[in-house]
């Protein structure tokens, strides 16, 4: 073994050590930089995710509250929407009825079916309300009236249409609803009338006449509203 060889043998491991150190430091810094990059990307993502949702959610909440409010253009009562109003919505009529929706993409859906859509609101914030959708029906009853024979309507209604055509010789003097006189004419009632009754109880109709009234002489038409439960969803994006 010469001195040069010994020197070479001594230098190589320490140079290796030095290079290995620097390489290790380099790799370590690279790893830390990678972790930092992940952290920064994560924080950016976290902020981007929270953006804009507060304003959209608030507008969806406000619009939904206006739709179900009792003084709204689509509502019959609080949380009760009229079926005819709800089925004939167009984007223009919706923005006229709810001016706050102008300039935003809004989608209104009932039980998942879209009623009206202004712009693309997918991915926006949604607010849901429970509503009843009311449909007006007409039911006509024409039983035979007489002393002690009354008609009790099975469903509640707010108004009654009456058509009085007594047989010749019979005079219909009064008509009562729930004991309250709603029509009275001592000379005899004849023709078509509309009376208001209480919506908070079922109505019993009684007719006073000086003779018997066969079926068909007094026709009573009620307009009960039939309600179905539905979920209203208002989605706002942008």
């Amino acid at each position: 073994m010469t001195a040069a060889e010994v020197r070479g043998a001594g230098r190589r491991p320490s140079e290796q050590r030095g290079q290995a150190n620097l390489l290790a430091v380099g790799v370590a810094l690279l790893l830390v930089t990678g972790a930092l990059g992940v952290a920064v990307a994560f924080s950016d993502g976290a902020f981007a995710g929270v953006d804009r949702t507060a304003g959209d959610r608030r507008l969806a909440d406000s619009l939904a509250a206006r739709v179900v409010a009792s003084d709204g253009p689509l509502a019959a009562r609080e949380n009760v929407l009229r079926r005819d109003a709800v089925e004939n919505l167009t984007p223009a009529s919706f923005e006229d009825a709810f001016p706050a929706a102008r300039g935003h993409a809004v989608r209104v859906a009932l039980d998942g079916h879209t009623l009206v859509r202004t712009g693309d609101a997918t991915g926006g914030e949604t607010v849901r309300r429970i509503v009843l959708v009311a449909r007006r029906q007409s039911r006509t009853y024409a039983p035979a009236f007489g002393a002690g024979v009354d008609l009790t309507l099975p469903r509640r209604t707010g108004a009654l249409d009456l058509v009085v055509r007594p047989p010749p010789g019979t005079v219909v003097r009064t008509v009562r609803a729930d004991g309250r006189i709603v029509l009275r004419d001592p000379d005899g009632l004849r023709g078509a009338y509309r009376v208001r009754v209480s919506r908070y109880r079922t109505t019993t109709v009684a007719v006073d006449a000086n003779g018997s009234l066969p079926a068909g002489s007094v026709r009573v038409t009620a307009h009960p509203s039939v309600t179905e439960k539905a979920t209203l969803a208002v989605t706002v994006d942008g």
Partner: protein, 138 residues
């Protein structure tokens, strides 16, 4: 001996790198776990509770009284009689993923409320006392 100390230096740097990476990732995890999400779910639950109460307070009763709610709260006997149908009505009215509890002056109707869950509340005044509707996600 030289190879052993070379290995020793390498593993030390590796440990340092691992500690550094763990620290940074730990801060990131703290970020991820501690950002509160105001997802508006309590507001939505409150809206559901308010709507359920409104629908009950204006629905026609089964037998007598002005509305279903006034019928149920008219007397204890009426309450006991109408209790089951009130529960069925609430199950039909509320969406399927909600559970409810209604506190009346005569007792509760519905499910027991689990602790620690976000709850929406609404209170309706009736002639015989307040009725409180609570809803939560099942």
């Amino acid at each position: 001996m030289a190879e052993g100390s070379a290995r020793g230096q390498l593993s030390l740097a590796a440990i340092e790198a691992a500690v550094g990476v763990l620290l940074v990732l730990g801060v990131t995890a703290g970020f991820a776990l501690s950002v509160p999400h105001p997802d508006g779910s309590v507001q939505q639950l409150d809206a559901y509770a308010h709507d359920a109460g409104t629908v009950l307070a204006t629905a026609p009763p089964r037998h007598g009284g002005a509305t279903r709610l006034s019928e149920v709260t008219a007397s204890r006997a009426r309450f006991e009689r109408e209790r089951a149908s009130l529960r069925r009505r609430l199950v039909r009215t509320l969406p399927a993923n909600l559970l409810f509890r209604v506190e009346t002056p005569y007792g509760p109707v519905g499910y027991p409320r689990p602790p620690g869950v976000a709850v929406g509340t609404a209170t309706i005044a009736t002639a015989n006392g307040p009725v409180t509707v609570e809803v939560w996600y099942a």
